[in-house]
Every structure is written in C-alpha cells, then in structure tokens.
C-alpha cells in the first residue's frame, strides 16, 4: 500500500476509507484556480479510491463538466474567466443536474445561502479539512441513488419508521427524544457513509456555526447508549478525526 506522508490528515481519511468497505468509486471534477490546492485534492481523492480531474479556471471547468460524466463537482466560488456560481447556473440551465459542492473563502451565512440558491447542493467554507470535504462529497454522490423516499429505514436489526416515529432494535422498542430521532434518521439515511459533526449540526439542528465545545459528541453518545447498549453488535461507529457512521457490522 503506498503511503502519502505529505498529505496531512491522511490517516484520518484512510480510516474513513477502511470504515467503508462497500465504497463505490466516484468520478469527481475539482474546479479550483489554486493549482496546489487542486492537485492536492486530486491526489487525496485518488488516495481513497476515487477518480478526480482538475480544471483551473471557470471556462475549462464548464467545458469539462459539460462533456464528462462526473458524480460530483467541487467548485471554487472565485474562479478566473467565469465564477463558480455562474458556472453552476449555466450547467443547471442546460439541464445538467450533477451535484455541486461550493468551496468558498467567504463562508458567511448569507454567502452560503447565495451559493445554494445559485444551484449548489452543498457549501463548505475554506479552509476545510479533507475528511469533511470527502464526507460531504460522498453524501452528495449517494443522494442521487436516493434513500429519501423510503418510509422505513433499516440497518442490521435496527429499524426506524419515519411515519409512525417508532424505532426498534430486534424485538426491543426504543424510545427516542424528537431530536435523537432526527439524529438517528439522518445517520440511517446515510448508512455506510461518514457523517461529520458539522453535517449533523447543519442538518439535524439547522445551525451553521461552530459550537466551541463538541456538543454533538455528547448527543451521539446518548444515542449510542440507547441503540447499541446491551447488543453484541454495535451499529453506531466513531470514525476518528472525521465523524460518525452507522453501519451493519455483521455484513
């Protein structure tokens, strides 16, 4: 196995890769004018088993996005020749719905809203950690497959009914607080995928700021004690340096 000691945090996303044996290879396009950053991303993505191309300006990026079959686009907001938002807007106007994640140095709430309104599917302020980016890209790629419409989510013997709000593991009924239910629902929707703390904060709590202390960890450990305690096979896993994942370990 090759080692990339020059990629910081490499161990963390190696762990992420190991945690997801059923990971499928994605084709990614990185549109970023900072060559060092773009090349780093291409290398890091290929390190975890994905195929990534890079474009260094908006026009090239648009051309490649138009002809290539990509699963996810990673688009910097400020690009030479054509800015990221206009690039995504053009793609959407041409009916190309490839999920796009916007990277931006601006990172304020209204800026983020602008990005999502322009047709972006997710937004990550710079500087970002690669594990955060990877987790979000994988969720975006999977979103196409769509597990959103299912009314009953199942992971191993854990079962969550989105209509009746009932959760059971095996024969045992589990009582969850409303927020715990939403937390579990989000994790189960992304079964087998790493979900970061910020993703949870954004999607379960609808907050876009960084609480100074890691409050999410405590919520997770509470949830874990409800769904995993007393069972031989744990389902909710911590991926060190990245986040959490729910997965059926028995498979």
């Amino acid at each position: 196995m090759p080692t990339y000691a020059d990629i910081p945090g490499q161990r963390a996303f190696r762990r992420m890769a190991d945690a997801q044996p059923d990971r499928v290879t994605m084709r990614l396009l990185v549109i970023e004018d900072d060559r060092a950053a773009a090349d780093y991303l291409v290398k890091a993505f290929s390190e975890v088993g994905h195929i990534a191309d890079a474009a260094y300006d908006g026009e090239d990026g648009l051309a490649m996005a138009l002809e290539g079959q990509y699963d996810v686009l990673i688009v910097d907001r400020m690009l030479p020749k054509r800015d990221g938002l206009s690039l995504i807007g053009t793609l959407r106007a041409k009916g190309i719905e490839t999920p796009a994640l916007i990277l931006s140095a601006l990172g304020q709430v209204d800026d983020r809203v602008k990005g999502l309104r322009a047709g972006g599917d997710d937004y990550l302020p710079k500087p970002y950690s690669f594990s955060e980016l990877l987790a979000r890209v994988e969720v975006l790629a999977r979103r196409r497959g769509g597990r959103n419409e299912e009314t009953v989510l199942r992971v191993g013997d854990l079962e969550l009914d989105r209509l009746s709000h009932q959760v059971r593991r095996g024969e045992e009924e589990i009582t969850l607080q409303p927020r715990e239910f939403r937390l579990l629902e989000y994790l189960m929707k992304h079964v087998g995928q790493v979900v970061t703390r910020t993703m949870l904060l954004e999607n379960v709590w609808d907050y876009h700021f960084d609480p100074q202390t890691n409050v999410i960890d405590v919520h997770i450990s509470r949830l874990r004690s409800k769904i995993d305690k007393g069972f031989s096979q744990p389902l909710l896993h911590t991926v060190r340096g990245a986040g959490y994942m729910i997965r059926d370990g028995a498979r």
């Binding site: 000691a5 910081p8 945090g9 161990r11 990172g107 304020q108 709430v109 209204d110 809203v113 302020p125 500087p127 950690s129 927020r179 709590w205 907050y207 876009h208 700021f209 960084d210 609480p211 100074q212 202390t213 409050v215 405590v218 919520h219 450990s221 509470r222």
Partner: protein, 484 residues
C-alpha cells in the same frame, strides 16, 4: 465651473425659474384678457350711443326735414367732446358737421367703419394728428346721408394703459423673482458649499470633522444631522476595524509563532516517522484552533459592521432558548449540571436567528465550561444553569445564569473586549471571543450585553428590542409562574 454657472445649475434656481415662468405667463394672460374685454365693452357702448343718436336724428329729419336736421346737427357738432357728425347731400356736399379729412368713399357705404378723421375746428398740421373714430353712415330718405361717430382715443388710451401696466408688473415680477431666487439660491449654495468643503476634509482623512448645522431645523439641517450620525458610525466602525486588526495582529501572531516553532523543532529533532507524525498532527490541531479564532473574529466584524442586517427576520427568542438548552443539555448533564429553561410563551425578536443562537450558545458554553466541579461546591449550592427568555417592557431579555465562580465587578466590562481572558480561565480551552461575539450580536440588534452578579455566580444578559406590541409585564410574569 464658474460661480455664476454653479448658481444657475442649482435646483433652487431652476425651481425659481419654473415658478417665475408659470407666474408671468399667468399674469400676462390675465391682463391681456382684461384689456381686450375692456376694449370690447367700450366699443359696445359707443355702438349703442351712436345707434341711439342716429335714431334720434332721423326722427328729427322725418318731422322737420333737412333744414331741421342741419340745425340740430350743427348745434350738436359745436359742442366739445368726442361726438362726430356730418350731413351731406346726395352729391356728397357737406351741409353740416364737424369732421373733415375722412378716408375717401366712407360716405358711400352705409354701415359701420373705423376710420381716421380730423375735426373741422382743428388746423391741418403736425400738431393736430388725425384721430381714430368709429362711425356709422346712415342713408336718409331723399338722398341725404348722415354720419354719426365717436372718437376712439379714449378707448385706445385705456387699452394701452392696461397693457402697459401689465407689461410693467410682469417685468417687476420677473426681476423681483430672479433676485429673490438668486438670493435664496446663493444662501443654499453657500451652505452646500460649506458641507462640500467639510466632506472634502473628511475624505482627505479627517474623520473627526462634522458637517455644519445652521440650527434652523430645515431640510438641509436634517440632512447634515443625519450625515453627521452616519459619520459618527463610520468613525466608530473605523476605530473598531483598527482595533480588530491590532488584535488580530497580536493574538493570531502568538499561536502562529507557536505553530512555526513547533514545526521547526520537529524538523530539527524528530527522528522517527512517529515523531514527525505527532508533530504534524499537533500542527493541524493548532491551525484548526487558529481557523476557529479567525472565523469568530470575522463573525464579530460582520456583526459589528451591520452587514448581517440584510437577513433579519422575525423569530421567537423563547424558541431559541429551548433549542440551545436542548443542544447543550447532554453536555451539561455529563458534567453534573442541571440546565433549565424559563421562557415566556412568546418573545418575538427581529434579527438574525443564526447569530442570536450563536451568541446564546456562547454564553451557555461559557457557563458550562466555568462551572465548578462537584467537590468544590460552596454552601451546597447545586450546580445549575438557567436559560431565560423573558419579556420586560419593550425588551426581550435572554439570560444565562450560572453558579460558577462569577466575574468580579471590576473585570466585567473588560471581559467583553476581544481576546480578554481572566487569569483563572487561561487553562480552559477557548478563544476569548465568546463574550465579544455575544456583545457584537446584541449591539447589531440594537440591544446590549451586560454581566451581573447571580449571588453566587454570573448572570449574562442579552437585552434585545422586542418586536411588536409591548406586553404587560405582570401578564408575562404570571405565565412564567405557572410554568415553574
């Protein structure tokens, strides 16, 4: 641009011109109408008199023949005045009258004519010019002709007097209007010039300068006052910006130096891959906390600059209190602290929900961070933190009250400043920006952050202006009571 050109270009002067033109046109129309009507009235009067006279004279002729007519006309013609008469034979030979030098052929056409004439008693010459007259020629039975008329001098004189008066008054109106306009314009212009002058000084960098206010309370004064308020705000912002950059320079350089030193040391002394790895991981950790600090600073700057005002909406502060409590409750419980909420049913606030949530989260985070551990409890006071969202008059108070060590009164205003951390808290994690952010958010919403004694402990209060009608204080209190 010349001074005069500048004068003519001002709005005030243009307005003066417009008003002047409208007024002058109106006056001209009015006077013209008046003059023409007067003239018409006089003409009508003349016609009536002449007709009456002709009727009278032809009656004389009918009763007494040409001889009598000649005698009557002769007598009348001798009277001084503006009445004109001629009686002629069929051949045109004058039998009686006081008129000569009529335009040729007048006597041949019976009916009304305007003509020139000279009176018989006036000698020919330049000192007696010909006059205008309105005459009627009447054919008498038997071939004689009778001409009766009136001099038009009076009518024309009156007409011209009115016209003249009109012209003069319009001229005076225009002159006075222009002068007044120029006077007012120059006054306004002088004040605007003074403002422009001040603005230039300000643009040149002297932010302490203020626009002159005349004290008349007019629209220019109001403008100047508002601009001064704006300048005040800009000056405060600039001061804040300078403060921020100074603080950033100071407080980001410290961890950056630490980061650099650590990397350098690793490069120099590390031998094994494990050691390098540990050094790199420490570097990443350090840069993460730097990024967090930087984000907090940006957030504060954004709140203070008022940019966040763009996405303000109405929301319920009580709901935020419940949400934040729910978010931090497991963390508090883990540390053996009871986290509770006391909130009114509705605490409407208009603002940036995200920022207010973060501000409250910072306060709760602080309270949990600085809570005394169990074994250090004094007087057996249970470690509890209460989040409150209550109506008080026209304000909403978002309060976080803890039983921690508190902050001495002398330090309270200081800790709100950026990066200030009291000695005893240096060992705890955090950027020292939590309270600064809460304070900036409160000010963004037109409120304030205050620190109070909780006997024992600390009470942090974010006071925000209430949105909507003011609720009765005791009504709110009763609601609170019932929920306890």
């Amino acid at each position: 641009m010349t001074a005069l050109g500048k004068l003519f270009r001002t709005t005030t002067f243009k307005l003066t011109l417009v008003y002047l033109t409208v007024f002058a046109l109106f006056a001209a129309f009015l006077l013209g109408y008046f003059a023409l009507n007067t003239r018409r009235l006089i003409t009508e009067q003349i016609t009536d008199t002449v007709n009456a006279e002709i009727t009278g004279l032809s009656e004389q002729y009918r009763q007494g023949g040409i001889r009598r007519l000649v005698v009557v006309v002769d007598a009348r013609a001798r009277r001084p005045g503006s009445s004109l008469y001629i009686v002629t034979t069929f051949a045109g030979e004058a039998l009686a009258g006081n008129v000569t030098a009529l335009e040729p052929g007048i006597l041949d056409n019976p009916g009304w004519t305007e003509t020139v004439y000279r009176r018989l008693d006036e000698a020919e010459g330049p000192e007696h010019p010909e006059h205008q007259a309105l005459v009627r020629v009447f054919q008498l039975p038997g071939g004689f002709r009778l001409l009766v008329g009136r001099d038009l001098d009076e009518r024309e004189r009156l007409y011209h007097i009115i016209l003249g008066a009109g012209r003069w008054s319009i001229a005076i109106v225009i002159v006075l209007g222009l002068a007044g306009g120029l006077f007012v314009t120059r006054r306004v212009l002088r004040r605007v010039d003074a403002m422009t002058e001040t603005t230039r000084t300000i643009m040149a960098g002297d932010l302490g300068e203020r626009l002159p206010v005349a004290g008349t309370g007019d629209e220019l004064d109001r403008l100047a006052e508002n601009l001064n308020i704006m300048l005040e705000r800009i000056e405060a912002l600039m001061r804040g910006l300078k403060e921020v950059s100074d603080n950033i320079a100071h407080d980001l350089k410290t961890p950056l130096t630490r980061l650099r030193n650590r990397s350098e040391q690793a490069l120099r002394t590390a031998n094994s891959e494990a050691e390098y790895r540990a050094a790199i991981e420490a570097t990443i950790e350090e840069s993460d906390s730097l990024i967090a600090t930087f984000n907090a600073l940006l957030m504060i700057a954004r709140a203070e600059s008022g940019q966040a005002r763009d996405d303000m909406s109405e929301f319920d502060a009580a709901e935020i209190a419940h949400d934040i409590c729910e978010l931090y409750e497991p963390l508090a419980e883990e540390k053996g602290i009871a986290l509770m909420v006391e909130a009114d049913t509705a605490a409407p606030v208009k603002g940036n929900r995200e920022l207010v949530s973060q501000a409250l989260a910072n306060l709760v985070d602080n309270a949990i961070k600085y809570a005394e551990p169990h074994d250090k409890l004094v007087n057996g006071v249970a470690p509890e933190i209460v989040i409150r969202a209550l109506n008080e008059g026209d304000r909403i108070l978002l309060t976080v009250a803890d039983r921690g060590p508190g902050i001495p009164e002398s330090d309270r205003s200081r800790v709100i400043e950026r990066f200030v951390r009291l000695e005893q808290s240096r060992s705890k994690p955090g950027s020292g920006l939590g309270l600064s952010l809460a304070s900036a958010v409160a000010r963004l919403h037109g409120g304030e952050l205050t620190l109070e004694d909780n006997h024992p402990g600390l009470k942090t209060v974010i006071a925000l202006p209430r949105e909507g009608p003011v609720q009765m204080r005791d009504g709110a209190a009763r609601q609170k009571e019932s929920r306890r």
